[in-house]
């Protein structure tokens, strides 16, 4: 078990290094984009004076490296900074109530986690169960139907799936709301009802990977001598799959689940737009459009951290699923 702790510490340290590299890459990338915040806000008809004054107000006239290290210094002290939009608004209107990036992102991030959590709660059990059934009845009509259905859903654009679901579940049979505009202080039950449609859409997107990996990982083991042994002991086919094959197939399944969960945190902006869901994806896209570097940086760090943590969790669970490592000689 000591080795597992060692791995966790090592991977977390590597993760921090990764975050640093991500922040540098993002900073350079956003700077490499044509235009900056001032130009984006003022549009094409802006006078050079107006642009200059905004730039000076936000410190955009300073050297690139200086800006990065100023941001980094704040970051390591836990200060994600303040969005350019907020600062600009405040300097024009004279307001004093500035929302920091952290305050701006927090509710959006919670919403994203809520949607990802709900999707995972539906998608993971369904995919693993379908994968087990497909492995059990492999090459049957059931197996082929499931494969075709999940492949079709993953091959269709997300907005298309979303509109199909809206058509059937909100328009033709109005059982669910087509808009998911949730807000703070909403009842949990209301929240859930409004989040079901986007969660179902995302479930259709992520099921194929997880289900197919579950099926493949199990079938891969079916030629093993210990599976033959189980059959020769007269164990029922279902028990052969669930008790004898599945525990040995966990590592690859866990890794694919982790990848898909990371996608749910970071890649769902299209679904958010379709359902008007106030998640972090929309905020991120808007910020990139406005070259609002502090917000872009914060979002990217969150996305990167999600990938790192989920992959770390997957690796640790894969290790723990191996009895050789859980019970050394």
């Amino acid at each position: 078990m000591g080795s597992v702790l060692g791995i966790i510490v090592q991977r977390l340290a590597l993760g921090l290094l990764t975050l640093l590299v991500v922040s540098i890459v993002i900073f350079i990338a956003v700077n490499a984009l044509p235009g900056d915040f001032a130009q984006a806000v003022l549009g094409q008809g802006a006078t050079p004076e107006a642009i200059k004054s905004i730039r000076e107000g936000l410190g955009l006239d300073q050297h690139f490296l200086l800006r990065y290290f100023t941001w980094l210094a704040g970051m390591v002290q836990g200060d994600l900074g303040t969005s350019f939009a907020q600062l600009n608004f405040a300097s024009n209107m004279g307001g004093t109530q500035l929302k920091t990036v952290a305050e701006q992102i927090a509710p959006r991030f919670q919403n994203t986690m809520f949607l990802a959590g709900l999707t995972a709660a539906i998608a993971v059990p369904v995919s693993v169960a379908l994968g087990i059934m497909a492995a059990l009845y492999r090459n049957s009509v059931f197996d082929r139907t499931i494969n075709i259905a999940t492949l079709s859903s993953i091959s269709s654009p997300e907005f298309f799936l979303a509109y199909i679901l809206i058509l059937f579940l909100a328009v033709l049979n109005p059982v669910l709301p087509s808009l998911s505009n949730i807000y703070e202080g909403m009842e949990l039950s209301d929240r859930l009802v409004r989040t079901v449609l986007p969660a179902l859409t995302l479930t259709l997107v992520v099921t194929a990977h997880m289900m197919r990996m579950t099926r493949a990982a199990i079938i891969n083991l079916l030629a093993s001598p210990y599976i033959e042994m189980a059959r020769l002991k007269g164990v029922s086919p279902m028990r052969v799959i669930v008790v004898h094959a599945l525990p040995n197939a966990l590592a690859p399944i866990i890794n694919v689940i982790a990848l898909n969960l990371a996608y749910l945190v970071t890649g769902v902006v299209v679904v958010e737009v379709v359902f008007v869901y106030p998640g972090i994806g929309q905020l991120f896209v808007d910020s990139v459009k406005n070259r609002d570097i502090p917000v872009v940086q914060a979002c990217c760090l969150i996305f990167a951290a999600a990938y790192i943590l989920l992959n770390l969790a997957a690796d640790v669970m894969s290790i723990l699923s191996n009895p050789r490592l859980r019970h050394p000689k």
């Binding site: 030629a223 093993s224 001598p225 210990y226 033959e228 042994m229 189980a230 059959r231 020769l232 002991k233 007269g234 164990v235 029922s236 028990r239 008790v243 004898h244 525990p247 040995n248 009895p323 050789r324 019970h327 000689k329």
Partner: protein, 547 residues
Amino acid sequence: MSALVEINDIWIEGRADETWMPIINGASMSLNKGEVLGLIGESGAGKSTLGLAAMGFARDGVRISKGSVTFDGIDLINASAAVKRDLLGKRIAYVAQSAAASFNPSHRLIDQHVEGPVQHGVSTRVESVNDGIELYRRLRLPDPDNIGFRYPHQVSGGQLQRAMTAMAMSCRPDLIIFDEPTTALDVTTQIEVLASIRDIVEQFDTAAIYITHDLAVVAQMADKIKVLLKGDEVEEADTRTMLSDPKEDYTKSLWAVRSFKRPGKAAVPEDATPVISVRNVTAAYGKAVVLHDVSFDIHAGRTVAVVGESGSGKSTAARCITGLLPPLEGHVEFDGEALPLDYRKRNKMQLRQAQMIYQMADTALNPRKSIGEIIGRPVEFYMDLKGAKKRERVRALLDEIEMEPDLFIDRLPSELSGGQKQRIGIARALAAEPKFIICDEVTSALDQLVAEGILKLLARLQDTLGLSYMFITHDLATVKSIADEVVVMKDGRVVEQGPKDEMFTPPHHSYTDLLLSSVPEMDPDWLTNLLAERGVDNLGDAAADRM
């Protein structure tokens, strides 16, 4: 009384590409309650397939095309899956060749043991756990109260094989199929497992089909023996008749294999410089020291057999000689000069002189290269031959290993038999024109007749080319037939070494004695006598020693 199992004119086929190839052509057998049938033949003879068919089971890609299997009046060919599932594990049980691979790595032994009784509703979990512990005790497993609560990887191969026999016994079946249960074990472990199996089968009056390619083993275990050759029945008779008076030529040839012996050679002159001299070598993998102060010499034109159980350090010693594993202490001399410890620091000349032939010819040959390319590579690398000269040399090498160059030079390894692949491995080693070749268990994956051919080839090459061999093996019959000198290893140390004749005549070191006396002999009373000689307690001690 009708027989317990009755197989009548059964035909079995296996899928190969798009067609069905015959595996078993019309075999029949019948087995009474409490009777043990030995099923012998070379690999590919269809022994396992026939054994599984006796359970009404065919592997994926295999089908029973004709014939009948009746178990206690139940037609297993036409029985529904549910009826067969009810019999399997409960009344018919199976013990697989590799217990290490056939126990599920994710579950404790005892959980796998009780699965049958609990699933079949034979007994409760608690009863079955207690019964399992009792069976472990009867099978003389160490610490029977607790060993079941370990995972498979925490238990040694011989113990696992006994735990699997216990598992097969868990529902007190009427019939057990033993599929080469001791083939993967060392000789000393094999004895313990054989004795355990024989005792418990007798105690519960269980009928058994015992599948093996080892005649001496089957002689100890079976009441009657059936010989198979490429899916055809050769003959069947009770054990003593079969051993003393085989009728068919094929059976006689099987019986005769063990008679190949090389004539002894003149003694090495006192002042001769050995080709390879291993000097006080200590080596480790990471922190685990696996070789302790090992020394031995190999002289020109001679064969030194290094014997010992798995894990005794035989292959590690070879890795030290080739420089794949630089020793921590000590060194290796070639013709009296010290070799650099690490193979990366050796020059081409030094590398050329020590070549290796591997156990698994299957995995040691690149499956995508033709035979010509495989042998041509070292010819080009070491001898700097190219184009027509290289091809000429490859053809000469193929001639040397008695394979027709025109026929084989453009083939891929997958188009060769196991014995032919091993010959290619030999040719590849010869291509470097070495003085010294390490043969690492080169015959242990081969059938006896094929293995004999390889041994004869190696002996002839030694005579014509003056080669020296280091012959790593755990098979003492091979040692008897080919070695000049013997080095016995145990736990990374050399326990005894000397000329073969001395080693095979008493008095021995006690461990050498244990090894030698553990090699099964064709006499059907051998195991009984040996156990009586050693005393059962003694056997237990031997087991405890090795814990």
